[in-house]
Amino acid sequence: MSLPPQLRKISPTVWELPITYKEGMRVPARIIAPESLLAGMEAGVFDQAANVACLPGILNYSYCMPDGHWGYGFPIGGVAAFDPATGVISPGGIGFDINCGMRLCLTTLTEEEVRPRIRELVDELFFAIPTGVGCTGFVRCSRRTFRRVIERGSRWCLENGYATPEDLEMTEEGGCFEGADADACSDKSIERGYDQIGTLGSGNHYCEIQVARPENIFDEATARAFGITIPNQVMIMFHCGSRGFGHQVASDYLQSFLKVMTTKYGIKFYDRELACAPFRSPEGQAYFAAMKCAANMGFANRQVILHRIREVFSRVFRRSPEDLGMRMVYDVAHNTAKLENHLIDGEQREVLVHRKGATRSFGPGMPGIPDCYRETGQPVIIGGSMETGSYLLAGLSSAAPTFYTTAHGSGRTMSRHQAKKMVQGRKLLGEMEQRGIHVRTSSYGGLAEEAGLAYKDIDVVALATEEAGLSRRVAKLVPIGNIKG
């Protein structure tokens, strides 16, 4: 596609749309990508990044990460910080799947030990972790208990035997957003999600058994610090979010913001998906409190799934999870808004950072990351397609301009229907089996939609984040087993 003529090259990985690109822009928009990825971005990405730049209280730049693609309101990969006093909060800057994120767990098993049991492992995982349309989880909890889950996140899991203290330490925000208020969530949102704890969902959500091969380690010292210490070490990575509860919270507030955005607060509409309210308004604060509940559901969901994964490995190998070294590397959220301190005009200030399909990337020595990662920077997990592999990276100090944010995935290049026209689910399953990736899915059609050819090259995206100084590659992890919804 042709790029907007106003797009200016700032550096090989930074491209800028000036405020003259669109009437109403308060700051320029910056796309962080090498030319090869930039060329593949849809026109919508530039328009959406420009729309975000029009929102009140935006600071510095409206950003789009290297895996950016067209989204709703914000582009996917959109990042923006707002002045809490004069700025807004927008569900379109966070996404419908609030606290969708990635979790990575170590084992001390090697590929040689796991290969002979891969079918059994994948089959057991498939039964232990519900996947697919409208799936419900094994945690039987009342609506009342669910209100506690969404206020306490992984802390509830710890209190109920689904987590270890170390799991919480290895989770962004300690697995709980402070200030979550269940009263800010509709009965409908609770009804929609109270029985979905411990479920994967569908679409691009997955749970994968992966291998860190020696030839795919980019930085041995950091890999060691992250727990990768033996050749062909097996790890488990999974991707999911806050399920129906989070989706309903986002939909509820999108509609409630539409009613007040212009009539009550006089904010101009550029796109109804960018509905917003002043952060300090009653509506803005109510959404922030509800969004935190959804974020906590995301953490609790991933924590319970980890618990099930540990049970499966323990059963199959007849060894305890501790004996199998099943420790978390980290859990990262990629759809959130958070109050953080950043340098604005030479001054440290508290700002509200929206990250939509974008991962926090705190560098070495920064507060808010576990002590064991103070030297390395936080682990960053970028998921790729089920055929090609994923990346473990480390946060960098040089990511300061993007409010310490990097990419979150590889991003689609082909629509779901197009992929399904080109790929047959059953055939793909057989081909992946031949390439040594054992897959179980609840939908062959859904599997075809997630074929590797429908995604950008994850190697290019991961390298781009390194070239742009957003995060640095530590290891590429390749799949040998996968369950999909």
Binding site: Y72, G134, T136, G244, H247, Q255, H417, S442, G446
Partner: protein, 143 residues
């Protein structure tokens, strides 16, 4: 079927256009497109349970938005896949009211061949309009 999917509008998600001779037919065909998004074999969804949905809105397009959201809600809250059988829409004093009879059954992973969990209806390029004697809607679903 009175709907078609569009590949060029949404790369990551699902976009469709639905149509009907009346507003009611448009709502029924939009519900059919939503069901087809979630299940490869919507014709296998048997009408074992019936529900009535009542909604109102000042805007017709947001009435459709709310109607589809309601069907998504039942997919998660009751695990129900639903056909829209009858829809009645009335406009009075600037407010549109809807009463819909919907019916279906709990998700069956074998018969219905589920495809993808729809998270939400988005307002991206969301449109309802009357053109050349036909009611049309453009809808993008987040999946």
């Amino acid at each position: 079927m009175p709907f078609r999917f569009h590949d060029d509008i949404s790369t990551a998600d699902v976009a469709f256009e639905a149509w009907g001779g009346t507003q009611e037919e448009l709502f029924i065909s939009s519900a059919a497109a939503l069901l087809r998004t979630m299940a490869e074999a919507p014709e296998q969804v048997e009408r074992r349970q019936e529900l009535t949905i009542r909604l109102e809105h000042e805007e017709l397009d947001l009435l459709l938005f709310s109607f589809l959201q309601e069907l998504i809600f039942y997919k998660d809250a009751r695990r129900l896949l639903l056909h829209a059988d009858q829809v009645r829409i009335e406009e009075r004093g600037g407010t549109f009211t809807l009463e819909a009879i919907v019916s279906g059954e709990e998700i069956d992973a074998v018969r219905h061949r589920p495809l993808v969990d729809v998270k939400a209806v988005t307002l991206h390029r969301f449109q309802v309009g009357y053109q050349g004697g036909v009611w049309k809607a453009a809808v993008v679903l987040d999946v």
